[in-house]
Symmetry: C2
Subunit: 347 residues, 2 copies
């Protein structure tokens, strides 16, 4: 669990592709920052919990170890994460079976079909010591044959819902989220709708993975969340989203974008508490929680950099906004946001 920024979406849009100045590939250093923090935890998990009975089929004396990254986006963070995991698996394997044939790794990079797999593939490290494959499709459904993965991971992805809960954009519903674009936590009915969607999605994710991961395998989930008792509206991400939402409202009032479009726009994003997530996993029943840590991002204490935030927002939200508002309006929205954000966070 970590408090902060966001990544991969589950439905028909994705992070900004390519490797230009506005791409996710060039604007994901924040997400990468956490990798160092979690590496040690992942190493420990692999050392203590990974059960190596399964990867080697006794009959053929051949060892293939399959890893999948669910919500990989277009790199390069996913490559670094996969390499660290493979190092840890390799070490454990060497220690446990001195005279066994070398492990061969097959790494599956998954993200939605709209993800820029072309850029992902073109930026695969050339020294790559594994067999790479891309898997398109939502991770809220099945993506692999039964019992074929040894290790699954998902980083900065599962706080993206499969969709915005219908009630929050339904003007007739008590959960209508008028005047806000996110689950700020202050409106009870809105929070309930978002929480229910999160539970449905997590259940679908866990059910699918439980079919795909072999017994004795491991799953690592890095997800954005909230400390107990803290509302989304009290976090930096929540404050930035709120400011972004206020820009949309301003622009609707100015007649630049349609008010109806603003009213029907909400972020398909939910930050759960550790307790809520723990309950969902326990009730689901397919996985045991071996370890659960609240992480602090090393950049949390850094001074807010306006340009950095704008680029992050654009890399992450652009496709989502284009789908809803159309391409032309999105440029105007980001221009307006950059100005208002700079005004609000002057030196």
């Amino acid at each position: 669990m970590e408090n902060g920024e966001t990544k991969t979406p589950p439905k028909s849009w994705a992070m900004v592709g390519g490797d230009g100045p506005r791409s996710y590939a060039q604007n994901s250093s924040y997400q990468r920052g956490l990798l160092d923090v979690v590496n040690e935890l992942i190493n420990e998990g692999i050392k203590d919990k990974l059960d190596f009975k399964s990867p080697c089929s006794d009959s053929s004396n051949i060892c293939t170890f399959r890893i999948a990254d669910f919500g990989c986006s277009a790199g390069p963070n996913t490559f670094l994460a996969m390499e660290k995991i493979m190092e840890a698996v390799e070490q454990k394997y060497q220690a446990q079976f001195q005279n066994s044939p070398p492990l061969e790794f097959q790494v599956f990079f998954n993200d939605v079909t709209a993800n820029d797999f072309n850029t992902l593939f073109k930026t695969l490290p050339s020294y790559q010591k594994y067999f790479a494959a891309g898997v398109p499709g939502t991770f809220y459904g099945r993506l692999f044959p039964k019992s074929t993965l040894h290790l699954a991971c998902s980083s900065y992805s599962l706080h993206w819902l499969s969709k915005v809960p219908e009630e929050v954009v339904d003007t007739k519903s008590p959960a209508w989220n008028k005047g806000s674009i996110q689950c700020s936590g202050t409106a009870k009915e809105v929070a309930k709708a978002y929480s229910a969607q999160f539970k449905t999605d997590m259940d679908n994710f866990l059910n699918a993975r439980s079919q795909e991961i072999i017994g004795g395998g491991l799953m690592v989930i890095i997800i954005l969340g909230l400390p107990d008792g803290i509302l989304m509206s009290q976090t930096l991400a929540g404050i930035c989203n709120e400011l972004f939402g206020s820009c949309l409202i301003d622009m609707a009032k100015l007649g630049v974008i349609s008010e109806e479009k603003v009213d029907s726009f909400n972020l398909p994003l939910y930050y759960s508490s550790a307790k809520e997530l723990e309950e969902i996993i326990k009730n689901n029943g397919h996985f045991c929680i071996e370890r659960m840590n609240m992480l602090n991002h090393p950049m949390m204490k850094r001074k807010l950099d306006v340009q950095f935030v704008i680029l992050q927002f654009r890399a992450i939200y652009q496709a989502l906004l284009e789908e809803h508002f159309g391409r032309d309006d999105v440029d105007k929205i980001f221009e307006y946001f950059a100005k208002k954000f700079a005004d609000n966070y002057k030196g």
Copy 2:
């Protein structure tokens, strides 16, 4: 083996991506035409030769059947071919094991890294009954872990060499192919150089696949080739290539493109005879030839359609030409070719 047009390249360029009017996706009906002819042969091969001991791991009672298409391009032909293969495998499996759990299929679509996987993934049939993955990289090297594929196929791809043999563009070599852009078959030294490259590439392909395909598995290769005693310069494809080469020479003489660039350009393409291919496979020793057929394309007897040929040439050669001549010149080259071709093949 089939005589006719061409598909997937092995190195840094690929068929034209996307699904626009000039894309390979929209200009591969010729290649699709052959699918109907080969389907019956593939069905027979699967029925008679596929050994089903392996796909089901006895311990887990789970059946995953893995298929890979080497040189898939951006669809849609590959989807149709894979579906037909799965139907045949399913039929054989049902007949052989009445009460076994259903097979789950994992299909790997392979092509060079420059291939348009984004379009491939976006056009995956929505009713797809298999787990799909894309695998980037040249099929002249390893792409999968050991013994993990049950069936491999490669269609319209292996006549693409990994590179143009160096001697044929070396002005000091006796194999220098001055005045031609292909292995027309008339110059002995040129043919020798092309043939040697084809043998090296095929060996690399067979060695890699022999590691990846499990015992009892099958491989289906559809490749363009020459009937015994026929030279490339005597085939329709050879004649079209020769005409295309003459356009480059014309344009160099007119000063539109550089003569040096024309001299250093050859197609990385080799049509072998059935006998030559058979010898390579036998000498390689990793695979038995269960069946080898010379196929006649249903469109072979069709009247030559100028527009059709131009679009085919563009979908297939554009990226290759852009890499060598630069983007601007390629448009001029195709304009000139269209005109000269039309002049030569007037109704």
